[in-house]
Symmetry: C2
Subunit: 427 residues, 2 copies
């Protein structure tokens, strides 16, 4: 705890429940808020972020100084850092969310029963969403914007290292809410760095409807293990590209290189390449050269090593590893069935792509691979809500319940049934 933390550590449960109750009240107000009011809040918050860029950078400088003093790595400091471009990107993001269609109130389906009852399934907000994240300050704005647009109140718990930055961003979001006549408690930041607040949040089943953890695997695992509230989570992204014997060589090279090397550290980056043994001589040398030329380390099985002396040996753990780096494991398979079996055994059910000109092989792959996203002749790096045309996303769910794949504003809603009659009673 520092002097900047306003909450007395001994009353974290009470403070968290006060925040929860305020969020629950705000959720009721937000559920009935007009699209115009929500968009006005988003746009006003965006303007406020832009206008107060200097103050945001000053708050961020405090976090950066504390982070350096605590010995954060260069990568962690880079995630933590705000600059003018990153502030502008947050503001742009809020305006983009304002531009999305409002999911709330939309009729998903409707039908009339033989007895004349008219039934419709209508989207409604989930209620209160708890977001627990790490060092990237922009999540404060991005997650709040998506929750607000979908009519949900948000309780955000920022990583302790981004405490000042997150607070400064939240102040602008709440300014936007105020200007739009919406309750400030629609978006709240947990006002303490004490880790006990996270534990408390995860038990608040009366106040929080769903928890979205955003961060590394250890955070996700802790939240999943402890939470008494349903969790929408992204665990691993062990994504595969499978080059089938029916693939065109140039396409196989282009898709594989993009899937791994465009941004090796995102969850949709390929981690393993499977190549049909029948295509090893015709396809793989060009793929390996293109990857290695771009600085990718290849870890291959014996057959792959035999094709290029720069290939390092893969060990058993490589097939289950999410490198998030310029490293790719590569093995040969004896056709479609073995490729599917490998992916089902070692994959994380995130995103997997087949490259082939064979429509039947593609159809089998798309049907049998049980992943959130299955692709044919496309780079796994397209695994993204924006690329799917869903607007921004709060994350990509690797679970199957409620939301799977990119989680955008529609996925942050539930529905209710509206039944209209003229006095029907049940026989």
């Amino acid at each position: 705890m520092t002097a900047a933390d306003p909450v007395v550590a001994t009353d974290i449960p009470g403070e968290m429940r006060r925040i929860g109750a305020a969020a629950r009240d705000a959720a009721a107000a937000l559920a009935g808020a007009s699209t115009e009011a929500k968009n006005a809040a988003l746009n006003a918050a965006a303007s406020s972020l832009r206008a107060d860029t200097a103050a945001l950078l000053a708050a961020n400088a405090r976090d950066m100084a504390e982070g350096e003093a605590r010995g954060l790595t260069a990568a962690m400091l880079d995630r933590l850092k705000l600059d003018e471009a990153r502030v502008a990107a947050m503001a742009d993001g809020l305006e983009a969310v304002a531009g999305l269609a409002d999911p709330v109130g939309a009729t998903i389906a409707d039908w009339t029963r033989p007895n004349g009852l008219e039934i419709s399934r209508v989207r409604v907000p989930l209620g209160v969403i708890g977001v627990i994240y790490e060092s990237r300050p922009n999540v404060t704005a991005d997650a709040s914007g998506l929750c607000l647009k979908s009519g949900n109140a948000a309780i955000l718990r920022a990583g302790s290292e981004s405490f000042h930055s997150a607070g400064a961003i939240m102040a602008r979001l709440q300014h936007g809410l105020r200007l739009a006549g919406l309750p400030e408690s629609a978006c709240q930041l947990v006002p303490t760095r004490d880790r006990a607040a996270v534990g408390e949040m995860l038990t608040m089943t009366d106040y929080i409807d769903v928890i979205v953890p955003r961060g590394g695997k250890s955070l996700i695992e802790r939240v999943s293990a402890e939470s008494r509230i349903p969790v929408i989570k992204h665990l691993d992204g062990i994504c595969h590209v499978y080059v089938h014997a029916g693939a065109a060589v140039e396409m196989a090279v282009a898709v594989t290189v993009n899937a791994k090397m465009r941004r090796p550290g995102i969850c949709g980056a390929a981690e393993t390449l499977l190549v049909d043994r029948a295509a090893a001589d015709s396809h793989l040398p060009a793929i390996l050269s293109a990857l290695i030329d771009r600085g990718c380390e290849i870890r291959g099985d014996a057959a792959v090593q035999a094709l290029d002396e720069r290939v390092r040996p893969a060990t058993a753990t490589d097939w289950d590893t999410e490198y998030l780096d310029a490293i790719l494991s590569v093995r040969l398979v004896d056709g479609l069935d073995e490729a599917i079996a490998h992916i089902e055994r070692h994959g994380s059910h995130h995103t997997d792509s087949i490259v082939t000109g064979d429509a039947e092989a593609a159809a089998t792959f798309l049907k049998r691979i049980d992943s959130a996203i299955v692709m044919h002749n496309a780079s796994t790096q397209f695994a993204d809500g924006g690329e799917f045309g869903m607007g921004a996303e709060i994350g990509i769910s690797t679970g199957k319940l409620h939301a799977r794949g990119p989680v955008g504003v529609e996925q942050l809603t539930s529905y209710k049934y509206v039944v209209r009659g003229d006095g029907q009673v049940r026989p």
Copy 2:
């Protein structure tokens, strides 16, 4: 443990994990099974139940004898009892599920991106569904049928008192699976009455994707508290009928009487009646008389007591009580806002109905009441998947995540994204 329990109590964890692994394998097979094969299994199981009615009744007689010896109440014994009609109803139910549209493989949405990527959202099974229930043996067939049709493997844990009946029913379900060439382990019954098996089930996050508890509140609460697996549950059904001043008297009487008295013990039965103070003299006497004449006990506030001497006084707890019996709490409200506030405070977000001829009041009620099912001029007893035209239901969800309201075969699915390209890479 009795001699009939084949599992050694000391190896419950190992046995449960063996069952889980078999279910996971079966789920992979079921996900790709044809509609024809699934329907063949359902129809064959139905035929087998009918053909083996005598054996089922004999197994049930063992449960009934043990139940009587253990001093089960008459109501519990009635729930436990099978007779020819109940066996026939189970068989009919399986055939009805066979007649439903197969949700698996259906395209929920599809669109094309500016870069030419074709994206579709396609229904897939959830995987393995764990069902934990109490004494009604028919749940064995009903839940298995819904899971099978939706391409999911099922692990069922029957109440200990229905152990023999559930086993006999499961044998016929597995016979149907065998005849259709599907794995028998697609539907499995936990082969022990030891309660430790339930605790074990609730930790099997690797093998079970969702838990559906079916039974009384104490079962649901125990499962919710202990489960490490997401739970789709039905908690309370504190349903309201609100008679607005704009209601026609005859409709108000008919809807209220049906909502309470058609079957007072179902979750969609009304538990509280709210009546506008402006309609007290004009509407309420007729409603009260109709209810009391049909044997309903009325617990009212002072104003309601003043209208009919047969009304008993309501206490504070009545407004939060799910009677599941021929009892109704009744209070006057000062219009729509107070009615909505009462329902939001005391209701269980299950099913609530307004009776009125005032379209504006109805629209406000339907929008602002945050319940799974909101109704206008219809009896709350319509809260049922069959009545909604969804076919059978495994239950009604009072949660907001994944499924809300009746849970039928569609709600037992997830989806995946299928992306088709011609070599697109992400810029």
